[in-house]
């Protein structure tokens, strides 16, 4: 379970508040769609959930752990162990081969590595195949040669390896065309279901909303109204 309470955040003490969220609760296994315009504090919210930034007030609790109670290194380790991320674009490390990109979280988290099975590389191939990628054809290529849609699917495989409890997706479809978007979304849903993970999906695109169990607008829960 994820619970945010009385969160307030601003970048610098003289700046206006970016986030002011009295409460946000996401249940285990829930698929939450968070709608918001770009610049509406979505990115800040994700950094907060990931433990990369700290709120000036309030608590962020993920899977029963108070993120604020953890020290910097422990927060990074917690993120590695329990959260998978998919970003809008450029999700891949250009100098790593396909499989190594998927295995990246296993480098930083023994827990994820352990949960990926005895042969994490086989698990990586399985996930890639499930995401509809022809691993044999793509594995030898530099990842920067992959299409945008292929790269996003690799990013999902990476977010899911070692079955983290929480998957956070930040506008993962905005770089894709209409057809690719629909296919991507259903694959993502399917795999998140299989892993039994909680999904928080952030987008400005309200058309995606119906696929999710619950949806809310960031403006509804965030009393701060950052410009833009």
């Amino acid at each position: 379970m994820i619970r945010l309470a009385d969160i307030r955040f601003r970048w610098r003490s003289r700046d206006p508040l970016v986030l002011d969220i009295p409460e946000l609760v996401v249940d285990d296994g829930e698929k939450l769609f968070v709608r918001g315009p770009s610049g509406g504090g979505k990115t800040t919210l994700l950094n907060l959930l990931g433990g990369v930034i700290e709120p000036e007030a309030g608590t962020v609790s993920i899977l029963g752990t108070e993120i604020a109670d953890l020290r910097g290194g422990a927060r990074d380790a917690f993120r590695a162990d329990h959260i998978g991320f998919v970003f809008q674009m450029f999700n891949l490390v250009p100098y790593l081969p396909l499989i190594d990109n998927v295995l990246l979280p296993c480098r930083f988290s023994a827990r994820r590595r352990g949960r990926a099975g005895a042969r994490p590389d086989i698990e990586a191939r399985r996930l890639l195949a499930h995401m509809g990628l022809d691993v044999e054809r793509l594995a030898g290529r530099p990842v920067s040669h992959l299409s945008q849609g292929e790269q996003q699917r690799v990013a999902v495989a990476r977010a899911l390896i070692g079955t983290p409890e929480l998957v956070i997706a930040d506008e993962p479809t905005s770089a894709l065309d209409e057809n690719a978007r629909a296919a991507f979304l259903s694959l993502l849903m399917e795999e998140v279901d299989k892993a039994g993970s909680t999904l928080i999906f952030v987008s400005h695109d309200a058309r995606l909303q119906p696929a999710f169990g619950r949806s809310l607008a960031l403006g509804e829960i965030n009393r701060a109204s950052p410009g833009g």
């Binding site: 990931g50 990369v52 910097g72 380790a77 993120r79 970003f87 450029f90 490390v93 480098r107």
Partner: protein, 419 residues
Amino acid sequence: MPIVSLALKSVLNRAATAGLVVFAIGVSVALLLGVERVRTEARASFANTISGTDLIVGARSGALPLLLYSVFRIGNATNNISWKSYRTIARSPEIAWTIPLSLGDSHRGFRVLGTDRGYFEHYRFGRRNRLSFAAGAPFDDVFDAVLGAEVADRLGYRPGDPIVVSHGLGASGISDHADKPFRVAGILARTGTPVDRTVHVSLQGIEAIHVDWRHGAPIPGLAVTAEAVRGMDLTPKTITAFLVGLKSRLAVFGLQRRINEYRAEPLLAILPGVALQELWDLMGTAEAALSAISVFVVATGLLCMMATMLAGLGERRREMAILRSVGARPAHVFGLLVAEAMALTIAGIAVGLGIFYAALALAQPTVSASYGLYLPIAPPTGRELAFLGLVIFAGALSGAIPAWRAYAQSLADGMTART
């Protein structure tokens, strides 16, 4: 460490840039090693050139010129010593042995030294090593010659071969003593000193080839055959210098003063150790300058690496953000860049060692022949390894600056760097 293999893959991915940086560091490291090796070997070979000799005596000039021409076969004596003075001094009671030296002729670029058989008995180099024969024996006949190892190697001589001595130090053919050829009687084992580049003949031999010469040219109409000359009195009238060994070293300063105050002609006696030290000190400045330059060249190579890494940071922000999102700490980002810098430096050192040994193998014969400096193709010395360790440390330090920038950048960017 999850970071090391990442760093290697990252470096390999930018092979073109990384290759240039590695090459730049490699060249600088090769230079550093080269200067260091030449310096050490020059110093060692220098100190080892002559030992066991208590005094070197020549016509009065300076201590350095005397040392240079008598021991290093560099330059020329401005004046000679009369045979009479030599014999007078040589009879002093405190003297155990003397070796007369007569210079001025050459054979195909190698100096010819007239001396006597005492040379093979008393001359010492390095840690009091005697001269030993690789083949043949000391000269016996007037026209016998004993070759240094380098002379024999380079010119392919074997005992029994004839050789023609040229007058003066020019190339052969201009003024040869072709009418009185010598025969190779023996070849000395390699010493790593100027002895290797010397053709030794007897004083009588030197005298014999000059019997019919005056003022550096054959006397017109007076040609004495090699056979006829054997019947003549071949006692030299002058020699260039002589080496002195004492029965007791305690006598050295007394004898030196007596020689320096010798009435019949102006002489100079020097202590080889003191003169060697003076000469080395003279070169010390150049040596230090050379070392300083090579250190700066390495610094330049590392700066070049640092600049390349700093320039690349901007386009790597996204990569750092991805690493942060999968759980990398800012410290990992710092470590990644330091590891990359170290990988580049170590690769540079490997390339540098390659260049260094290739250059050594190429230059060794030339340097040995032209400068009498034998550069061993040996594994790096402790001191050289220590230098390489310092280079790696300096490389890591140079990497710390871009690493610090990336660290600060990734703290600010978090997981959400655009671009």
